[in-house]
């Protein structure tokens, strides 16, 4: 494909216009007018831990029940975490798998917290989960757990802050800083 030199020039000029700082004195501090929902990072982390423990409790219950009534999760999870779980539990139900035991939340480290604005992704926490006490079995009672499954698993969990309520909305694998150690 051939791009006209004129087009490139225009694109560069536009890009350059966006690059030149317009204000020689960078503003020092953004105005914080809204009242923070949490007074401190520690308070935000404590709220996130509580919300996540509630989520783990319900997700374990649904897993124990072989994926039945997964809508129970709607009160404790949202976003992609909820949709991933609903899809996963539908698969559990179909394969007639269920779990035995419960997941432990062993450690949390606050990554970031937007205490003023809230909204989606307001709080992000590194979380270590211990699944050593959980087995997943098929309808014959045979374990279907992968031999590769780590007992301690680290995740980066994102929480949404809506109406002063923290709800986990995404869980992704995290291999950076060792939260479990």
């Amino acid at each position: 494909m051939r791009i006209s030199p004129l087009l490139v020039t225009v694109a560069l000029l536009l890009a350059l216009a966006g690059c030149v700082p317009s204000d020689p004195h960078p503003s020092t501090s953004p105005s914080a007018s809204a009242t923070p929902v949490f007074a401190s990072d520690a308070e935000a982390l404590a709220a996130a831990e509580k919300a996540y423990a509630a989520y783990l409790k319900v997700s374990d219950q649904v897993a124990n029940d072989g994926g039945k009534n997964p809508e129970r999760l709607k009160s404790v999870a949202t976003g992609s975490l909820l949709s991933d779980d609903l899809a996963g539990f539908a698969s559990f139900l179909e394969k007639r798998w269920h779990s035995i035991g419960k997941t432990d939340l062993t450690k949390t480290v606050l990554q970031s917290a937007d205490l003023t604005h809230g909204g989606e992704g307001a709080v992000v926490v590194y979380i270590c989960e211990d699944v050593a006490g959980v087995d997943v079995v098929d309808q014959n009672g045979a374990s279907v757990v992968s031999a590769e499954r780590p007992e301690l698993q680290q995740f980066q969990v994102t929480f949404d802050l809506v109406h002063s309520q923290l709800t986990p909305s995404a869980r992704e694998p995290w291999t950076g800083t060792n939260t479990c150690g």
Partner: protein, 268 residues
């Protein structure tokens, strides 16, 4: 001018990077999440490693499966079909390809070049006294610069880059140059008297005209959406304004009355 040349090159590279990734494969952009069933069966693992200076990871993850499809795989969690992660940034698969082809583009780490279109405002330096200095006395140099958030597009996705000033390279024009870890502040702000020594002050020994050049190093971090900031290796070095100073001797003389009020007075 060098600055404009650099800016132009950087912008071209940034545009090229954005265009490349925009064309690379937007069709199946999807985030990797870990469902409870994956966590419990062991299907949510990441195959990646972290280098000391490298925060960008490349790897594959096991697909969480598409829920409704029956008879897929052998029924064992470990036998699920894998997907290729096309753009993997610090443990997050930003773009994954359900059916990997042999001609998948190479995964690019996020580098300073990728964020060249995100420009922090360069700092501004000031000095006290303003424009003149007495040999042997401390002149206080300081800069106005802060952490900055710049929004833009990175790898065809909305992103924010955070620039944090971390080092101040002062060249005083008299043959001496130092690196400071602070931006400095006015004497008044530090609760000091004029001509006091500060962490960023300098003493000129000889009279003359000097040009003071300051370059500030910024650390850069990026984030997509509401995730945490991820550091980018290296620093960005931005020159601040130049200052010109006249170093001239001050003689102490005995005068009668105030020379401002009575310029014609004895000694004035």
């Amino acid at each position: 001018m060098d600055w404009h040349k650099y800016l132009r090159i950087a912008t071209t590279l940034a545009l090229a990077a954005v265009l490349t990734f925009a064309a690379a494969g937007e069709a199946h952009a999807e985030r990797v999440g870990c469902s409870t069933t994956d966590v419990l069966t062991g299907g949510c693992s990441v195959d990646a490693s972290v280098g000391a200076d490298d925060v960008t990871l490349v790897g594959t993850a096991t697909s969480p499966g598409s829920g409704g499809s029956a008879g897929k795989g052998s029924g064992h969690a470990g036998a699920r079909p894998p997907f290729e992660c096309q753009i993997f940034v610090a443990n997050r698969c930003l773009v994954r390809v359900p059916h990997p082809g042999p001609a998948a583009p190479a995964v690019q780490p996020i580098t300073l070049r990728d964020i060249a279109s995100f420009r922090p405002s360069p700092g501004i330096q000031f000095m006290e006294p303003n424009g003149w200095v007495v040999p042997g006395l401390d002149a206080n140099f300081y800069s106005v610069v802060d952490q900055q958030l710049v929004n833009g597009t990175l790898l065809a996705q909305p992103a924010t880059v955070r620039f944090t000033p971390i080092a101040w390279h002062w060249n005083y024009g008299d043959g001496s140059a130092v690196v400071r870890a602070t931006k400095g502040a006015t004497w008044a702000a530090q609760g000091l008297q004029d001509f006091d020594r500060t962490p960023t002050s300098h003493v000129y020994e000889s009279e003359g005209e000097y040009v003071i050049r300051l370059t500030i190093d910024f650390r850069a971090e990026y984030r997509f959406g509401a995730t945490g900031f991820i550091p980018i290796a290296g620093t960005i070095n931005l020159p601040a304004n130049d200052l010109r100073v006249t170093v001239t001797g001050a003689k102490t003389v005995l005068v009668e009355h105030d020379c401002v009020a009575n310029p014609g007075g004895p000694g004035c």
